[in-house]
Amino acid sequence: MGTDELKQVIKEYIINEFLPGEQPESVTDDLPLISGGILDSIATLKLVLFIENRFGIVLEAHEADRENMDTLNQIAATVESKIK
């Protein structure tokens, strides 16, 4: 799966689950999802579980935090480093 496709999958999940009715283009690749208050702690947890199940990876302690999962770009980079 390419990076764009991967971001698309995660973006769709975020919009369906947490931002119903929002325009897909407003969820940009560098939108701060956690520090910007868009995903609260439970939403972040659900997102991590979704990513782990969808991509068959396990996210470690330091990978699932604000520093590594704040934006779609960061999430994609973290996930890709795991898949490879």
Binding site: S26, G36, L45
Partner: protein, 522 residues
């Protein structure tokens, strides 16, 4: 009663007795022993003297949870000063307001927050000394700062200042209905009487390992910090990110052999549901304490069945009194039980009574407001004499009865049952939230014309916060924009779960916003 002692004294005694034992575990860093913690806090005390900190001065703490922060707390107390911890994740403007409000003499602040914070402070005309720490964790940042300060300006070793019992040990800021946080002032006597009560009920030993899940600006941390370090036990610091992740938390509880756990129920609910508790062993775990909000019985039952061994305690109390009632939950919890557990009986260092609207004690079985008196009751709100006066029962001179604002009913067995709030305060993830403070934050948005925030019951999370808004412009701001705006003007735990835009908010016959109608709409 042994409440003539200042809060840090029990730790200082433990540091003598248990000098080589581990005091604080800051995962990812080297553990710190009692002797080292005493040394580090003593060095900070001397630096605070050098900065001119006097008895009863306030010193702020604006950093993530770390050994550095623990050492700072004891350094401040040993200097005879009052510590004022704030939420490192809150907007710098809010924290600057707090520091300015209680006129701190100095603030220990992390470098990553320091610039914005300083700008906000200057805007308020506040000029505290800033002790700027790089990369806190394990006590390293504080050590480095002290090394540099001592090299530049050597100072002699001082001695601890012994505070009076009525001197403030710490000030904790909570949500205020006017949109301004208010500072709850707790004295050494308040804190020590609570810590001593914990010793009596939970019987900690040097073999215990305590969790530190709550942040330091939250009153649950008083038990974690000052009870563990009184008894020669170890304290495991759990940072904010780790504290929200059930899978990692469960691993940590097992790995460090935590024996006394204390947190808000929300994270325990997540542990039960998502934590894979069955994959680990927890032979050390002996007490599970929870406080801050109602624990949904469904989730508590699940937790007790996965963790059958420990004793479970429901602790209740506002920041103004710290824990004032407690109830031990008998396990296992029967399948048919659905009603939440009582908040229990009044702690031995306090007195309680239930009063009606005119302050008369009601009969057993009748609903009323719970009032608390005794050694644990706060001194008041910082520089808010009117609010302080209003928070106590009028006309009782001998005893100061704090009105909790919580409606309870006493059952025949003497346990109190929690029924709800008298005002617009709600509990969210253990935090107190005044819905009015969220409204004040939302009114700052240029497009917001009217706003009313309501809380409605929610099966999953217990409570859902819904903001009803009307707009000055034709097109309304997007959900993303509103959430981002909130993250800049409110602490994250105050961001509403839902934003509902209306052409205009419903009004009552007297032209006030109809909150009742809005609750129905939510």
């Amino acid at each position: 009663m042994g409440t003539q002692r200042p809060l840090q004294q029990a730790f200082m005694e433990a540091a003598e007795r248990f000098s080589g034992r581990v005091a604080v575990i800051d995962p990812g860093y080297t553990d710190i022993t009692y002797r080292q913690l005493a040394e580090l806090s003593g060095r900070l005390r001397d630096r605070l003297y050098a900065l001119g900190v006097e008895p009863r001065d306030r010193v702020g703490l604006y950093m993530r949870k770390s050994t550095d922060a623990v050492a700072a707390i004891y350094g401040i107390l040993r200097a005879g000063a009052t510590y004022v911890p704030v939420d490192p994740g809150a907007p710098p403007a809010r924290n600057a307001y707090i520091m300015h409000n209680c006129d701190v003499k100095a603030v220990l602040v992390e470098a990553r927050m320091a610039d914005k914070f300083q700008v906000e402070l200057q805007g308020l005309g506040a000029l505290p000394h800033l002790i700027v720490l790089d990369d806190v964790g394990g006590g390293l940042a504080l050590t480095t700062w002290l090394d540099n300060a001592e090299a530049a300006h050597p100072t002699s070793h001082g001695v601890d200042r012994i505070a009076d019992r009525d001197d403030l040990a710490y000030i904790l800021y909570t949500s205020g209905s006017t949109g301004r946080p208010k500072g709850v002032m707790l004295s050494h006597e308040n804190a020590v009487s609570f810590v001593d009560w914990c010793s009596e009920v939970f019987e900690p030993t040097p073999e215990d390992t305590f969790s530190s899940h709550a942040p330091f600006h939250f009153d649950l941390s008083i038990l974690d910090l000052h009870v563990s370090l009184k008894h020669g036990a170890s304290l495991v610091l759990i940072t904010e990110d780790l504290g929200k992740d059930p899978v990692r938390l469960v691993k940590l509880i097992a790995e460090y052999g935590i024996s006394i756990w204390y947190s808000a129920p929300s994270i325990l609910s997540l542990l039960a549901q998502f934590g894979n508790l069955g994959s680990y062993q927890f032979p050390a775990l002996r007490h599970v304490l929870f406080a801050g909000e109602v624990f949904p019985v469904k989730h508590l039952r699940m937790l007790c069945s996965l963790w059958p061994k420990p004793r479970y305690f429901n602790l209740y109390g506002p920041t103004e009194t710290n824990v004032c009632t407690f109830y031990e939950v008998a396990t296992p919890i029967p399948e048919e039980r659905t009603v939440p557990y009582p908040i229990g009986k009044v702690c031995s260092h306090l007195n309680g009574k239930v009063v009606d609207e005119i302050g008369q004690t009601v009969e057993m079985g009748v609903e009323g407001e719970l009032c608390i008196a005794g050694q644990g009751v706060m001194q008041g709100y910082w520089s808010l004499p009117e609010q302080t006066a209003k928070s106590f029962l009028a006309g009782s001179e001998e005893m100061r009865w704090y009105k909790t604002g919580d409606i309870v009913v006493e059952e025949p067995d003497g346990n109190y049952l929690y029924r709800g709030r008298r005002d617009r305060m709600v509990k969210r993830r253990g935090y107190r939230v005044e819905l009015g403070e969220i409204e004040v934050g939302l009114y700052k948005h240029p497009q917001v014309k009217e706003v009313a925030v309501v809380a409605v019951p929610d099966e999953e999370s217990g409570l859902k916060v819904v903001a009803h808004l009307s707009c000055k412009t034709e097109s309304t701001p997007s959900l993303i924009e509103m959430k981002r705006f909130c993250s800049e003007h409110l602490p994250l735990y105050m961001i509403p779960d839902r934003f509902a835009w209306q052409p205009a908010l419903p009004k009552t016959s007297t032209d006030k916003i109809d909150y009742q109608r809005l609750k129905e709409l939510s």
